[in-house]
């Protein structure tokens, strides 16, 4: 039995543990992303050891965290504004459509401490896979609950979110461990 403060601490430690695996620190993430991850931990706590649960909201909060980080990081770079809007699938599709970044865009990405190679190659695939885990509710940044998701979906979403965050977090905003 945990009181409100202990629950907040549990969530914070859970998120910090996740970020530590990625060698990221909390303050490297946008505040809105941190809030999404806090909500993710809250959903995890609810369904932990409850196999009859729908893990949809666990997946959804991870998707929101990725959307948030894209919107406040890469999506602010000229030429990559499409990453700040639309569904995860649309972002992946648009990114796939870019055959090569021009020098200026590459420079702008690099200047934020982000590897252009990941943005060009790995990001679109990871976004596409994450999008496929999310039952599309027709809402771009959907607040609606997912139809249905299993613990395996949640594990996969965690892995993909980790890969994405590790690749897109702006090092200049915080320190990488």
């Amino acid at each position: 039995m945990l009181n409100a403060e202990e629950r907040r601490r549990w969530r914070r430690e859970y998120v910090d543990g996740f970020l530590a695996q990625l060698r990221l620190q909390r303050d490297a993430l946008a505040p809105s992303t941190q809030k999404c991850l806090d909500q993710w931990a809250r959903q995890v706590k609810l369904v932990a050891d409850q196999p009859s649960s729908n893990f949809g909201n666990v997946v959804l909060e991870l998707c929101k965290a990725v959307e948030s980080e894209l919107a406040s990081g890469l999506g602010t770079i000229r030429g990559l504004e499409f990453l700040a809007r639309g569904t995860l699938g649309e972002k992946a599709h648009a990114l796939k459509g870019i055959t090569a970044f021009d020098d200026a865009t590459t420079q702008r990405i690099s200047s934020q401490g982000i590897k252009p190679d990941f943005v060009k190659s790995g990001l679109a695939d990871s976004l596409k896979q994450l999008a496929s885990l999310r039952s599309d509710t027709g809402s771009a940044h959907g607040n609606a609950q997912l139809q249905s998701a299993s613990p395996q979906h949640a594990d996969r979403a965690r892995l993909l979110t980790g890969q994405i965050l590790k690749g897109i977090v702006r090092v200049s905003r915080g320190k990488s461990k």
Binding site: L46, D49, Q50, P51, S52, Q147
Partner: protein, 150 residues
């Protein structure tokens, strides 16, 4: 009095508890209406087969119950919200802070029998029955208008 019973998936514990509560209230001539819902359900899923079997042994039919999510409308409908786990009560209180005064936790941790054998469901059914009898006693009759037993 309207009572909403809440668990996580709304396929085992809460539909069993709601079915039991209706039966117990009926046998005592108490005007209690019970419904159930989940905090993270697969919406529209049928109640677990063994839950329905365990309840059928007491002559209570919950086989037609489909899982539902806790919604603001359901919370407004309820005079009391009963949880079978402290975690549920805590989570509910964060989502519906305006309804915390309605919350009652039957026990900090009624085990989730999901996918377990029938014996496990029977065990949980019996735990719930005892807890609900105590719950009804705790209401003291002051909040429930009596009606003639059917």
């Amino acid at each position: 009095m309207n009572v909403l019973v809440v668990c996580t998936g709304n396929t085992c514990r809460s539909p069993m508890a709601a079915g039991l509560l209706k039966r117990l209230a009926q046998s005592k001539g108490l005007a209690i209406e019970a419904r159930s819902a989940g905090l993270a359900p697969h919406i529209g899923q049928r109640v677990a087969e063994n839950a329905a079997k365990a309840m059928a042994e007491l002559g209570i039919d919950i086989s037609g119950e489909l899982s539902k999510k806790v919604t603001p409308d359901l919370v407004r409908w309820a005079d009391l919200v009963v949880t079978v786990q402290q975690e549920h009560a805590d989570y509910f209180a964060e989502d519906f802070p305006e309804a915390t005064s309605k919350l009652r936790c039957l026990q900090p941790d009624v085990p989730d029998p999901y996918c377990g054998p029938l014996a496990e469901y029977r065990q949980v059914r019996d735990i719930l029955k005892d807890l609900l009898l105590r719950f009804i006693e705790s209401l003291g009759g002051t909040m429930i208008s009596s009606r003639a037993p059917e």
